[in-house]
Symmetry: C2
């Protein structure tokens, strides 16, 4: 792996673990096995390197989500497959995490990949909910855009609750809960 690649990968890991404020150039260099001068040769500084790292993480997250969401099945089945896929819950979401960093949200270029990722995900879920509605058990009164936002929020909030509890249990409960709400009307009534 080339030096720039190793620097980007190290930055991705550290941003996930410690956030932007908690990640120092020195820590990046040490993890990448690169010297100070090497880092400043390939990148103009910490913001530049972070931008490359965040863009790659956002790309990867979108590709992973698309894999589950483009699978077979009804709307609820595909959403269930996405929500229940294996996740390292206590590590949290590498994109959602950055949302709490004041320097990230204050920087338009750093915030942009976060905004685009969640906008895409919400739109993708809303499309699935809308297209599958006629032949599925979903209630006719549900707004696809609102419901999609709820599903993404459950994921992101599930990570928060899990980290507070030091356990994946609240995440799993939140996912079960929203899937129960999405399917209850077909089994109840």
């Amino acid at each position: 792996m080339s030096t720039p690649e190793r620097l980007i990968e190290s930055t991705r890991e550290l941003l996930w673990e410690r956030g932007y404020v908690g990640t120092s150039p020195k820590a990046i260099q040490q993890r990448a096995g690169a010297g100070q001068g090497s880092m400043y040769h390939h990148f103009s500084g910490k913001p530049d390197l972070a931008l490359a790292a965040v863009r790659r993480t956002a790309e990867e997250m979108r590709a992973t989500a698309e894999a589950q969401l483009s699978g077979p099945g009804t709307a609820v089945e595909r959403i269930s497959a996405y929500l229940r896929r294996e996740r390292d819950v206590l590590r949290g979401c590498p994109i959602g995490r950055l949302t709490q960093d004041p320097e990230v949200v204050a920087s338009p270029s750093l915030r942009q990949p976060l905004e685009e990722t969640f906008a895409w995900l919400r739109g993708r879920l809303a499309g699935i909910l809308a297209e599958d509605r006629p032949r599925d058990g979903l209630a006719a009164g549900l707004d696809p855009d609102d419901t999609a936002a709820t599903i993404v929020a459950v994921l992101q909030g599930g990570y928060v609750l899990a980290r507070a509890a030091g356990s994946a249990e609240p995440f799993d409960r939140a996912v079960n809960g929203v899937l129960g709400l999405l399917t209850a009307r077909t089994t109840a009534a």
Copy 2:
């Protein structure tokens, strides 16, 4: 306001804005208008001061939530009042925010107030859902604990989406979405 009080209040503000890693004793002292020695006289250090600040924020958050949740109305009405109360959405949740801080979750004493706050909130919501179920329109198949976790996750995730978007819109959509899911069965079917 006494010096210890001012130090605690300053720490609360800074923890909300910048998190634990992003908050320095120096910044706390400056905001509180207190000197270095003054801070170390009243508190043993940054962790001690942070603990006092986090405990107070957790207490306050619980009291605020209880005010909405103990109001009149059906389960859905009380939960709706809680979810839709006025919030400074882009500031995020002062407790949920700390969940992303590696040094907070690594410290049992600092994590404890977070864990207790969300455990209480989930339990409170589960109780409301369970007790009100017979005479309300909620589906019999819904698990109160799972549904409660979903509601809290929607709040916490709503903050995440709002900060990523730089707008309260996704938060409001997520709240509308979960309330739609909770009430759809009474209007549909």
